[in-house]
Symmetry: C2
């Protein structure tokens, strides 16, 4: 068990961070470090050891994806070997959905958590302001196209949730359209999870003060100016409205098949460690096994020797 091998946790991280019935975002301290009592320096060590675990899991997932793709009807043996703890046979992938206010650390998670595994097994999708073509379709149209293939860890840097967050706060869609989207999202995510994708939804939660400090640093350093956008200050005025929109998102879309996790993110090192752990748990749940050879190993050894 990942939870057991990661002895630096003092509690069940997933349980501590999961959005359950009665969750109140306003009650969460962005500086908290639920389940973790070590310091920043030790967190770096723990992140490195977690990276090794993530690495092996990712390679197993990728290997399984490759073999699933080439062998449409696995033999009973191969199927048994790759069914995993979830009892599900067939293609499997992981989708990490990252949502946050600006500067909360999505980029750092991608760089330092996702970036520790083989890039060949990762697909990243950064969703920007929709194009005219995207706007002409349903909001899930562009999302569907970027879902990870079997064997891959997909990462959404922003996502379909923008359409019920900024969409709601800025009134980019009518209230009944926003309303429709919550159910559409739940049905969409149900189908995606049923088809073999573990969906890990993370909101990185920072405080307005921490954001102010981070944006200030971007303004102080000429090599960080490109990361600064004057619009970020305008968004700060809408902070309470964004938090209310997130609260509604949690209430409407934290489901059994695709729960939300709210990760306190004022301390970057905690956010990274926590998201890494959530990914590890998702992979542990899939429990991908090295696929059995689809060829006669001894015969191939002889053929290779003779070649």
């Amino acid at each position: 068990m990942i939870a057991k091998s990661q002895k630096h946790w003092t509690g069940d991280v997933a349980d501590l961070l999961r959005v359950d019935e009665g969750f109140v975002l306003a009650g969460l301290d962005p500086r908290a470090t639920p389940g973790y009592s070590r310091d920043k320096l030790q967190a770096a060590e723990d992140l490195a050891s977690g990276a090794d675990q993530l690495d092996e899991y990712q390679e197993r997932l990728f290997a399984r994806g490759r073999v699933d793709a080439t062998v449409p009807t696995p033999t009973p043996d191969a199927a048994g070997a790759s069914s995993g703890a979830s009892g599900r046979v067939g293609p499997a992938s992981v989708l990490l959905v990252l949502q946050a206010m600006d500067s909360a650390g999505k980029g750092g998670i991608i760089r330092h958590v996702v970036g520790s595994v083989d890039p060949q097994g990762v697909t990243l999708a950064a969703f920007k302001k929709p194009t005219a073509d995207e706007l002409a379709h349903d909001f899930l149209w562009r999302i569907e196209k970027r879902l990870p293939e079997p064997g891959f860890i997909g990462v959404f840097d922003r996502s379909h949730y923008e359409d019920v967050l900024i969409g709601r706060v800025r009134g980019l869609a009518a209230p009944d359209e926003i309303e429709r989207r919550y159910s559409a999202i739940n049905e969409f995510e149900k189908r995606v999870t049923d088809a073999g994708t573990r969906v890990v939804k993370v909101m990185l939660h920072i405080s307005p003060d921490e954001q102010k400090e981070r944006l200030g640093k971007r303004l102080d350093r000429p090599d960080k100016h490109w990361k600064y956008n004057p619009g970020d200050v305008d968004e700060r005025e809408l902070w309470p409205k964004y938090m209310a929109a997130y609260q509604t998102v949690f209430e409407r879309t934290s489901t059994a098949h695709a729960p939300w996790f709210v990760v306190p993110a004022d301390r970057k090192w905690y956010g990274r460690l926590a998201v890494q752990h959530l990914l590890l748990e998702a992979l542990e749940d899939i429990d991908p096994q090295w696929p059995a050879a689809t060829f006669d190993v001894e015969l191939e050894k002889r053929r290779l020797a003779a070649s």
Copy 2:
């Protein structure tokens, strides 16, 4: 200069590896380490220091790509700041094309060289056997779609060159069609480089003996079976034909705007170090500068403070 800051090289790597007039693939020793006289352990250290350089260059390239994208008509100052040593203003990107016989180490390059930079600035494209849809179009159709956007480092794991390599060796296209493709490739790459992409074409060159050893290891280890494909042994029989096809590729498509580099790859650590260096030189040539702020920094500081 990268060449100067990387003191571990005893010669100009790019010059040593570039395919020029009169190049003969058969004359190259796959175990050689041109321009490098240190050992494997030191190579790991040199790779790590090169990774730091690559990291900064990649972030500058990305920053420039972001600002170029949002500012269609840069001010004279901003344009001057981002013109770089090449004297070119406008979008810039890098495309690393990797070609090789199986097990030569493409994956290791992606993992250990490309994987050292922020994944948010990298787009990977692994070209497999073409689909029916792809075959219904010209061979460059699927390639065009995967070109890197401005600011990105794109990596092609196999490429349009498959269409004149396996395409020729296995007779997947008529000789006059193969013939047509060499010119089509040159024109295509000319347009791509003119549009701001530095194309770095690398063939990782291994010996048949080294390949035999590597494939043997895949057969020996159950956790590597998924990487083994019985077809690889069949391809070994065609080794001389593949080498002849590569020789023709070099003669026909190593151009001034997009030269080929043949990297001896029997020693994995040398291949990684050499490809990292070639990427560094390409980025040095672009010389991306941190973009100037497109907003009033002092005004933004006041607005942020008041928010």
